[in-house]
């Protein structure tokens, strides 16, 4: 049962990455908006994110709640070891969300609009970077190591070696860059589908291809660095039996995504991009299974009591009954092709 709950957590994280990840990616492209259609790019991004980003953000809450309900030791351990990057991520989340809301619903004057746009864009770049660093830190095993030695050596070891080194290394930064590249890639690919005119579509096609290249570079870098900085991780990625088929599959969908962008098959590209990002996430999870925080917390040794897990699954099922129809309604309303035909009334 604990495994089931852990898989659900992974699904929720997957949803967060695909949905909110793309919202952050949108912010990245707001940051890098260039060329003659700079303003149109920003408007398209804002319209794409506007109705859905709050709902997308809730997936993160779900992951957090799931973790502290069903794996309380993991949650409190991560919160101790990753205090600094998580606080930075929170600052990013707060600034991104508020700046977007201020820009959308606040005064429509030019100067504050630009100012909030700036804050929104910068926070959108920083947050995925830090999120990736946290995931890299967990994968590297250094977070687990730190938690293992904290009870004995917490008093003697230096602040930096306990609270900074576990998450700050070339490997974790590479994973952070990979997360940023993936989010930007997702956003650009989604936006090729959502753009209403051919020129904008071409803008985002070029951006998606650049981001795909960045994904390759950062993924390659992370893999190389894993060798020296995250040996357990690289062993899991290379040695286990499912590794090769999974890598081949990831490679195939990555190529499909690029080819589809190249030949302008927008919908296919979107599907392939979603599959590619999900496979990378699941590949990470598989490489460290059954550990949630290697080498300290596994699914088995950190799960909450059975009574809690059981009830949680019931609550989850009931929640899903409400959630999925509502989400379908939201996305139908704002994301289906039909929905975009009548020009939406812009609220002043």
């Amino acid at each position: 049962m604990a495994t089931a709950v852990a898989l659900i957590a992974l699904v929720a994280l997957n949803a967060y990455v695909l949905l909110a990840g793309a919202d952050f990616g949108g912010g990245v492209w707001d940051f890098f908006a260039t060329g003659p259609r700079r303003a149109e790019q920003r408007v398209l991004i804002a319209e794409a994110i506007g109705p859905i980003w709050e709902a997308n953000h809730v997936w993160l809450i779900l992951v957090v709640v799931l973790l502290f309900t069903c794996f309380p030791a993991v949650f409190s351990g991560l919160a101790i070891a990753l205090h600094i990057p998580l606080t930075l991520m929170l600052v990013g989340i707060v600034l991104r969300g508020s700046a977007f809301a201020f820009r959308s619903y606040g005064s429509s004057d030019d100067a504050p609009q630009r100012r909030w746009g700036r804050v929104f864009a910068i926070a959108s770049v920083l947050t995925p970077l830090v999120l990736g660093i946290c995931i890299g830190a967990i994968a590297s095993g250094r977070v687990g190591d730190m938690l293992d030695r904290l009870p004995q050596r917490g008093a003697t070891e230096s602040f930096v070696s306990l609270y900074v080194t576990p998450w700050l290394s070339p490997f974790t930064v590479a994973v952070g860059a990979l997360a940023l590249a993936l989010f930007a890639f997702l956003a650009a690919t989604y936006l090729t589908v959502e753009a209403e005119n051919a020129e904008l579509r071409e803008d985002f096609r070029r951006r998606a291809l650049w981001a795909a290249a960045a994904v390759f570079v950062t993924a390659f870098l992370a893999l190389i660095l894993a060798w020296s900085h995250a040996p357990r991780m690289s062993a899991g990625l290379i040695a286990s039996q499912w590794a090769l088929p999974l890598h081949i599959l990831t490679g195939i969908v990555a190529i499909v995504a690029i080819v589809a962008l190249w030949v302008r098959r927008w919908h296919l590209a979107r599907v392939a991009a979603v599959a590619q990002v999900s496979l990378i996430l699941w590949g990470w999870a598989a490489a460290q299974a059954p550990y949630l925080v290697p080498p300290t917390f596994s699914v088995g040794n950190s799960a909450a009591p059975r009574s809690t897990l059981q009830l949680f699954l019931v609550v989850l099922a009931l929640g899903a009954l409400v959630l999925f129809p509502s989400l379908t309604y939201l996305f139908r309303l704002f994301k289906s092709d039909r929905a975009r035909e009548p020009a939406p009334e812009r609220s002043e």
């Binding site: 506007g50 109705p51 859905i52 709050e54 709902a55 953000h57 809730v58 809450i61 779900l62 709640v65 799931l66 502290f68 309900t69 069903c70 309380p72 030791a73 949650f75 409190s76 351990g77 991560l78 919160a79 101790i80 205090h83 606080t87 929170l90 989340i93 707060v94 991104r96 969300g97 508020s98 809301a101 201020f102 959308s104 619903y105 606040g106 005064s107 602040f159 306990l162 909450a304 009591p305 009574s307 809690t308 009830l311 949680f312 609550v315 989850l316 929640g319 409400v322 959630l323 509502s326 989400l327 309604y329 939201l330 309303l333 704002f334 929905a339 009548p342 939406p344 009334e345 609220s347």
Partner: protein
Amino acid sequence: MGDLLAARSQMAVSLGFHILFAVVGIAMPMLMVIAEVRWRRTGDAMYLELAKRWAKGTAILFAVGAVSGTVLSFELGLLWPGFMRFAGAIIGMPFSLEGFAFFAEAIFLGVYLYGWTRISPRAHIAAGMVVALSGAASALFVVIANAWMNSPTGFQLQNGSPIGVDPIAAMLTPAAFPEVLHMLLAAYAATGFAVAGIHGFLLLRDSRNAFHRRALVVALIVGVPAAILQPVSGDISARYVARWQPTKLASMEGQFHTEAGAPLRIGGFPDVNAQRTRWAVEIPGGLSLLAFHDPHAVVRGLDAVPRRDWPPVPVVHVAFQVMVGLGTYLALLGIWIVIAAWRRRDLAADRWLMRAVALASPMGFVCIEAGWTVTEVGRQPWVIYGVMRTADAVTPMPGLIVPFLVISALYCFLGVIVAWLLYDLVMRSPVTREGDAAATAPAAA
């Protein structure tokens, strides 16, 4: 500043900041839906304008509430990993339910804000209602989690660890009902009077302004009933505290010694060293009467527990006096408004009434901050009452003053911006006078 104090201060700042936005997120959608319903019924364009403006305000405040709520969900672990490790499995359930309520709120707020022309009027109003209801549901679940910290149930202790965890029994903790009721009423009263106060103030300058007159009425419809009912809910809460958390009650009242027929102390300041509360107006037997509905009942004083189990008594006592004092003002003002409305007086033209309403504008929110101070500081030195000390829950990471300052600076900055944006939104209100053509468009029906 020590690490524990820094962590507690950061939590206080985060909660104190978030609660303002959370409360608006509970009650504001109600105002916005009422305005829209009135527009659809009467065709009066002023109500549409109101609904749209309130929706805009809600969008800003909800966004800040959502992100500051996210900060809190992380801070539970970042600051109190010992607490979460112990309690996660026991009180994760209300948080999970809250997660789904929050989902519904976020989804349908998106539908409401961007769906004015995309969905039918009926669906649009329904979406607004879902936002209002799920906002209340979120509050219900989160407050239940807090209630458990005040009266922990649903587990047994064995060598300092919880066993026999029963999450449902934990949710049915005795503090749940009084706390939830008190919080929900507070949200409607505070938001209703805050909005009414702003428009009341503007009506003092221009009592015929059609926009402000309509806004005032809708806001009072939400705020007045809640403010009048709040003292009843306060009585339920007081009796709960008297029974389950006698030390908290003793701090609230400045009751140092256990006594029968304890007096009710109004105002005053507890002198912890002298163990007496000075300068209070005392009503003989009043506290016994209120807490146990018997003027001779024995009220346990602070002396019933060792000094190291006392909360900071002066803080709790003063916060409690502030909450009760301002809450009483709102309830009496509510009764005045009901009487005036019943006599079919023109509320907006009554200058004294509008002055009193304008004065009430910040009071509900001050009450809420004071009330949370009572319940949180009054629970100290425990994070889980009688089970875990706050000092044992705090993170081992040193230097907690840094995140405290970072979060405080961030929230100060955001607070100023939000205040300015709302000021801007209010100041751009329409200036149509009652009786002008635009204000009374022919009814659509």
